[in-house]
């Protein structure tokens, strides 16, 4: 798999690198012992995200996309593989080194109704990271907090600073959550479905704030989402993940206009074709009734794939390989 990550030729410097990352969980065993089933959340995932890039990781619920985000900001440790941020190995960091890492890599969570502490005012929420990382004295801290809130479109009147999360709308909450991340001026940010709880008009505000952050602060983003349309708008490159396996990776526009992996094709088929009232010809790669359980030695999409070859695809796992230019596809028949 190592060869895969080196296949994307680029003169740009990788900001983040996943090398052959796997993460497995064990489901609870029974009361009388037995160790439960092994659940593979990520299966030998390798990728590079370049400096200043917004990289989209697209998948359905349970695909492992959030797990990838959590591993990168070290909320969890991978079962195997290495992660590098800015050429420094981050797997296994502890103590002071871990704290220094947190200053560089931050995460925006999905649900601003749960990610903000209801008992802490807006001002304290945004200044807390600064206190933890001992960056500034009181005056300078206040200045930074105000400046950051302004940059996410919350021009704070004084009373706003002393409000509590329940007095804010969902969009305002998410902007506070973004301010809390950005106040540290991180180099790398994982945004895990930051708008899935918000209305479209508010989502667009958040997207534009993220684009602005990249422009102004030179932040590199991993954008995790189930929405290909959002990824198309925000991301330079995207990777599509299915059951913990990357199945297609490359420039966003290219993948969305001409998907190659049968799963990516099925995803695009399923999206409502807004604006096209006539029936659009689909790729038709999804089996009506899936093949049920099969050995996990083969292609992860074998169970639902119409184009799969019975013997080859059920017994051999396709790896990501170069398809055209900078695109990688994990399918024997793409």
């Amino acid at each position: 798999m190592n060869s895969v990550s080196t296949m994307i030729e680029s003169s740009k410097r990788p900001m983040l690198q996943l090398e052959d990352i796997s993460k497995t969980y064990r489901s609870k065993g029974s009361f009388f012992g037995g160790s439960g089933k092994k659940i593979v959340a990520l299966n030998h995932v390798s990728l590079k995200i370049f400096k200043g890039e917004i990289f989209g990781l697209i998948g359905e619920s349970g695909s492992g996309k959030s797990t990838a985000g959590r591993l990168i900001v070290k909320l969890e440790e991978p079962s195997a593989g290495e992660i590098f941020l800015d050429d420094n190995k981050i797997t296994g960091l502890k103590g002071k080194a871990l704290k220094a890492f947190r200053l560089k890599a931050q995460m925006i969570f999905q649900d601003p109704y749960q990610s903000l502490n209801p008992q802490i005012s807006i001002y304290d929420t945004v200044s807390e990271p600064l206190i933890i990382h001992k960056t500034k004295n009181v005056q300078a801290r206040k200045h930074l907090v105000l400046q950051t809130l302004k940059s996410v479109g919350l021009s704070p009147r004084d009373d706003f600073l002393h409000r509590y999360p329940h007095q804010l709308s969902g969009g305002q909450r998410q902007r506070v959550a973004i301010a809390r991340v950005m106040v540290l001026k991180p180099k790398f940010v994982v945004a895990d479905e930051p708008t899935s709880m918000l209305d479209a008009s508010i989502s667009a505000q958040i997207f534009n704030i993220l684009l602005e952050m990249r422009e102004k602060l030179d932040v590199t983003f991993l954008f995790i989402s189930h929405s290909l349309a959002a990824a198309r708008y925000l991301c330079d490159r995207i990777a599509v993940i299915y059951r913990g396996n990357l199945v297609e990776m490359g420039p966003g526009e290219k993948i969305i206009q001409k998907p190659k992996h049968p799963y990516t094709q099925a995803l695009l088929d399923a999206l409502p074709k807004f604006g096209h009232w006539d029936k659009v010809e689909g790729h038709d790669t999804l089996l009506r009734v899936d093949r049920g359980d099969f050995q996990d030695v083969g292609c992860p999409f074998f169970g639902r794939c119409k184009v799969a070859h019975q013997r080859k695809c059920s017994q051999e796992r396709p790896h990501l390989r170069k398809s055209d230019g900078s695109r990688l596809v994990a399918c024997f028949y793409a």
Partner: protein, 315 residues
């Protein structure tokens, strides 16, 4: 005569902070076998309309005015008992968040059979179970999973079971409130397609309520765009989305990322909807509207008829 005719419906909630005008002066009609979609941001009153049609509004609600004629009968004036007889039998609802709409301590097939037996006491339990079996086949849940409990189902299966339950008494009208919000796109697509087929087969009228304009655009004949408790644009899907007339509809469409065409910069709608306790006297979109005139602040906009089936509340 249309199956459902709603005229000038206004609904409010008594809250600790004052009276909240959740729905104000909403009128629409729905023909047999057709589908109508309400879109709008959260808090715009679309779910309140759905709940009003089911007569399931909470206690602190008051219907301030208007008529709801279902098959010619005024639903708002019906006694609770009469309403109970037609609820589910003629008007059913697919609730938001299917995961919470099923009772966790009863088997799925029993829950659906209960709906059938309640409205058709003459039928035997065996008959009801036979019907449940047919329903499961319609919505594509394997027969072997009928006796499961809800927690054994995936999200998509629960949603299918809820649809089966809504279809149980062969209703004439189904209100589908965010029927696919929590589901993955592939499952969403399958369920919307299935619902479309069932609608055609049984000539059901459906009201879709969703914040996702692409979902509504895919399944509805007509669209009603709601903003801050009011209907602001109404018409056929192609007219409303193809040549939107109200500034809010236009703004909503340009804040929505697309999969095809030019990659334009998204234009978010600045600000937030107004507070509906003491809402503004003029146009409710005034504060956020890019083309507002001075008079819009004080004068409530009137409906302008653009074509036979397309009108907007803005001049």
């Amino acid at each position: 005569m249309a199956l459902l005719e709603v005229d000038n419906l206004s609904i409010g909630y008594q809250t600790p902070n004052g009276f909240l005008e959740a729905v104000e002066g909403v009128s629409f009609s729905l023909e047999k076998g057709k589908s109508l979609g309400f879109v709008g941001e959260s808090g715009c009153g679309k779910t309140t309309i759905g709940m009003a049609l089911m007569r399931l509004l909470p206690r602190n609600t008051s219907v301030k005015g208007g008529h709801v004629a279902f098959e010619g009968q005024d639903m708002l004036k019906m006694s609770d008992e009469d309403m109970r007889l037609i609820r589910w039998k003629k008007v059913a609802m697919i609730f938001q968040a299917a995961m919470n709409a099923l009772n966790p301590v009863h088997r799925v097939d029993d829950q659906i059979a209960e709906a059938i037996l309640t409205h058709d006491p003459a039928s035997s339990r065996g008959d009801a179970m036979k019907q449940v079996e047919d329903l499961f086949q319609l919505v594509d849940i394997p027969k072997g999973r009928m006796r499961d409990y809800p927690h054994q189902y995936s999200g998509g299966m629960k949603q299918r079971a809820i649809i089966a339950m809504a279809l149980a008494c062969r209703p004439k009208l189904i209100i589908a409130d965010e029927p696919t919000t929590a589901l993955d796109v592939i499952v969403q697509h399958q369920i919307l397609e299935e619902t479309k087929n069932l609608q055609k087969k049984f000539k059901i009228s459906i009201i879709y309520i969703s914040h996702d304009i692409s979902v509504v655009a895919g399944v509805c004949d007509d669209i009603g765009v709601m903003y801050a408790g009011q209907l602001v644009e109404y018409g056929s899907k192609i007219e409303v989305f193809g040549s939107p007339a109200h500034p809010y509809t236009k703004a909503l469409l340009s804040s929505y990322p697309r999969l095809t065409g030019e990659k334009d910069k998204l234009a978010p709608i600045p600000g937030e909807p107004p507070n509906l306790i003491n809402p503004p006297s003029g146009c409710r979109f005034y504060d956020r509207c890019p083309s507002a005139k001075v008079s819009c602040k004080t004068e409530a906009p009137v409906w302008v008829k653009l074509t036979q089936r397309h009108s907007a509340r803005c001049s």
